[in-house]
Amino acid sequence: MPADAASLDLPLERDLFLRQLLRELAGTLEDIVGHDEAAGFISIVGQNIGRWIDDAYCQAWGQERLDRNQVAAVLVDLKRRIEGDFHLISVTPDEIVLGNRRCPFGDKVRDRTSLCMMTSNVFGTLAAENLGYGRVILHETIAAGAPGCRVTVRLKRDPDTSEGIEYFGD
């Protein structure tokens, strides 16, 4: 038997702990207030995080606002930095389409679709803050059981569609 707790072979480290924590928080929220409300709460968090990230990139670039290509690049880069694996599928004046093979939450995201509100809100907030508007549509998500995610950020308003969630700039 090992002499002390520190020498035990355990899969416990900060990153895993935080991801597990988020999973538990989202799960508890979904169970107690229901999925929609849980998604609402997580949206608030997502918005705040989105603004924080936006500020960080703007400051780093020394710009007040980012252009479409920069926004597209930030969406991929921010995910890379937090160990997601997003890539650009296409960037047009109307939309940015992204794919993803790995969720920053890792396998802890499974069955916690409310956590996808983080992506939706961060992407939507970044688009809205810099380009004035963003409608984020999550076509496929790892959380819902798909092998990867596919996300579209529409940059032009279309009053005739109710798909996804709209984000507005100031």
């Binding site: 998604a39 609402g40 608030i44 918005q47 939706s120 809100n121 308003r157 709209e166 984000y167 507005f168």
Partner: protein
């Protein structure tokens, strides 16, 4: 969004809704919201005022709410609430071409939500309980159905009663045995439906359910209980009654289970009868007679009143058998039996000792009375007038009488004396009677027995015995499995003597061990020779109980087995069940058999079924095969008892994992019946007569 559009949509909704501009000014409120403010119209006021918000706090919230079309949850004070709890709201942005508005929805307050949640949980709990209850009821229903089907299809009769002993239900077997239908019987006292008596005393028997209910325990039925059905039919039954208890132990009623054992009981009686009686004449058999004789000898030693034994040997009976056939011989034997039965007294014992030999044990007689009864018997036999196919047959016999007095040593000695006296009578011209005298032993004995004994010894010394082999056929594939080795003896004139004429004599005179050892040596030699030539010859070899009981003979047998070099499975020893194998010797015999079996030799128990101790032998002796006595097989087609016997023996054998051989298979009808019963091996004239040299053969 236009105010009118909002009101058109929102007024009909139950939720309290506000339309705000981005500064928080209330542009419109639906009816539900106005109700929330007790009828006050909030239009034109600012949300900061309604919700007690101001400055940066309000601005931050408005900014956050305006950022997404997704409802953002929040909590706000005010809205006419009596308590100090903040109301839960959600706010979303709506954008049209030019302007962005906010729609605020007030959610049910938290205490309501808690109550609702609690209610929901209670409902879910009750639903789960209800589902559990339904499942339990369903399971109970299924169990009940299963129990009823079991009750209906069970092979025993079952009657359920209430705590007062009144019939509640009964199954079809109970209906059939009692003669009552379940409907008619229901509610009747059990005594009415279940009318039982002691089959011997014919007195009413006590009802086991009454006792079971009174004592609260399982009660069995007394022996010899008979059930009188409603139509008067009588069944011998076995039963037991058990109380039915509630979970708290309270007795709710009783279950009576019984079955018809009439057939079993009859068979049992029949078996008991067969063990002591001769199958043809229905008088006592030799085994029973010997036992009675032994008892008489023991009593005679202590008693002043002598007894006597009569040895009756029919004259020229063999001639009748040979010329007119066995059926006529049997009929004559029956006529003789009838004649003798009339002359014996109630306390006497009459038995058939062998083919044409009878024995009578006379109680409380002296020499002259014994002679008188013997003479009466001779006269009675002479009076037998028996006709068959136009031929008249009369009976005559030679009778030897031996007195059983204080000097008698044992049954065998008395039997020998009576036998010698009978021989003397025969020698004196037949149809005579002779009283044994000590001088007879030297005279008669020297003439007959000593001559026979000398002949046997001579044949043993000169290898003069002959062997013949009768096939034993395996029914599964109709192949010859092995041959039984049979001994043949000739007299001085070269005439073949039947085994029955010298084997009992050899047994009486202790010659069997020598004969058996000679046969074993010959048979082993033959098996080895065939084996060496690559033609295995499985043989079964008879061993008398006398041989197995003789430790010197056993040693010699062991030595022969030690020298035997062919595979031991080619040898099957048939143990002839005989009184010579006394219980005292059983242990050493069993040990010896175990030793040989351990080396691969096989053992069969011969003549199974006729002896009283057959089952005991089966229990003690490690045999592989049971050879059913031919007496049961010969008449199996016409005799239900014989058939039941063979069937029972086969069942016993199967349950003990032993194989069965039926001998005396004399025709196809017998064979067919044995196939139907499931005997493993058969032997008899129909399949092959004893022959000099066995040849491979099959039957169709």
């Amino acid at each position: 969004m236009r105010t009118k559009d909002f009101l058109d949509l929102a007024d009909g909704l139950p939720d309290a809704l506000l339309l705000l501009d981005r500064s928080g000014e209330v542009l419109a409120a639906n009816r539900a919201f106005v109700r929330l403010l007790d009828g006050q119209q909030p239009v034109g006021r600012n949300l900061g005022e309604l919700a007690e918000l101001a400055g940066a706090d309000l601005a931050d919230r408005l900014r956050r709410w305006a950022a997404s079309s997704r409802p953002t949850p929040d909590r706000l004070k005010g809205f006419g609430r009596q308590d100090n709890d903040a109301a839960r709201v959600e706010v979303r942005a709506v954008q049209d071409d030019t302007t962005r508005h906010l729609i605020l929805r007030v959610l049910a307050n938290s205490s309501q939500a808690r109550q609702f949640h609690a209610l929901n949980q209670e409902l879910a709990r009750r639903n789960a309980l209800l589902a559990e209850l339904h499942a339990g009821r369903e399971a109970l229903h299924r169990a009940l159905e299963k129990a009823q089907i079991t009750l209906m299809s069970i092979g025993d009769a079952v009657i359920a009663t209430d705590v007062d002993g009144r019939v509640e239900t009964m199954n079809p077997i109970a209906e059939s045995l009692t003669g009552w239908s379940a409907d008619t019987a229901s509610g009747q006292p059990l005594d009415t439906v279940f009318n039982i008596i002691n089959e011997v005393s014919r007195e009413p028997a006590s009802n086991p359910v009454t006792r079971c209910l009174a004592e609260g325990r399982i009660v069995g039925l007394a022996n010899h209980t008979a059930l009188i059905a409603r139509d008067g039919r009588e069944y011998v039954i076995e039963d037991s009654a058990a109380p039915i208890r509630a979970r708290n132990g309270e007795v709710l009623g009783a279950i009576l289970v019984f079955r018809d054992v009439t057939e079993d009981r009859l068979l049992q009686r029949q078996l008991g009868f067969m063990a002591t009686h001769d199958a043809l004449t229905q008088i006592y058999n030799r085994r029973h007679f010997e036992r009675e004789l032994e008892r008489a000898v023991q009593v005679g030693r202590r008693s002043a009143t002598p007894q006597a034994m009569l040895y009756i040997d029919l004259d020229h009976f063999k001639l009748v058998n040979d010329t007119a056939g066995h059926a006529v011989g049997d009929a004559l034997l029956l006529a003789v039996t009838t004649a003798l039965t009339r002359r014996v007294r109630g306390s006497d014992v009459l038995a058939r000792l062998g083919g044409d030999e009878f024995g009578v044990l006379l109680c409380s007689v002296d020499m002259s009375e014994a002679r008188k009864i013997g003479e009466e018997m001779l006269a009675a036999l002479n009076a037998v007038d028996f006709q068959h196919d136009g031929t008249r047959y009369s009976a005559a016999a030679s009778i030897g009488i031996a007195l059983i007095d204080r000097n008698a040593t044992n049954a065998a000695d008395i039997m020998r004396r009576a036998d010698i006296a009978c021989y003397v009578a025969k020698r004196e011209g037949r149809n005579k009677l002779h009283l044994y005298q000590d001088s007879d032993s030297s005279n008669a004995g020297s003439v007959s027995e000593v001559r026979l004994a000398n002949r046997i010894r001579h044949l043993l010394a000169t290898n003069g015995f002959g062997l013949v082999f009768q096939p034993i056929v395996k029914l599964a594939d109709r192949s010859v499995a092995r041959h039984e080795t049979l001994l043949r003896m000739t007299d001085e004139s070269g005439k073949t003597l039947s085994p029955a004429s010298f084997i009992p004599f050899a047994e009486r005179n202790g010659l069997m061990p020598q004969i058996d050892l000679w046969v074993v040596a010959q048979a082993f030699d033959l098996i080895e020779t065939h084996f060496r030539r690559g033609r295995p010859l499985p043989l079964s070899i008879n061993l008398s109980g006398q041989t197995l009981g003789d430790s010197a003979a056993v040693e010699k047998l062991r030595a022969l087995c030690d020298r035997f070099f062919a595979p031991p499975y080619l040898v099957e020893f048939e143990i002839t069940e005989t009184a010579a194998l006394a219980l005292a010797q059983i242990d050493q015999t069993r040990d010896f058999m175990r030793e040989l079996r351990g080396r691969g030799f096989r053992f069969a128990l011969d003549d199974f079924g006729t002896g009283f101790s057959s089952l005991a032998y089966l229990k003690y002796l490690p045999v592989d095969v049971i050879k059913i006595d031919g007496a049961f097989v010969r008449d199996i087609v016409g005799d239900a008892v014989d058939q039941a016997m063979v069937r029972s023996i086969c069942q016993i054998a199967r349950s003990l994992g032993k194989q069965t051989v039926a001998e005396y298979v004399e025709n196809q009808a017998i064979l067919d019946r044995l196939i139907e019963i499931g005997v493993d091996y058969v032997q008899g004239y129909h399949l092959g007569r004893p022959a000099a040299l066995p040849e491979p053969e099959t039957v169709s």
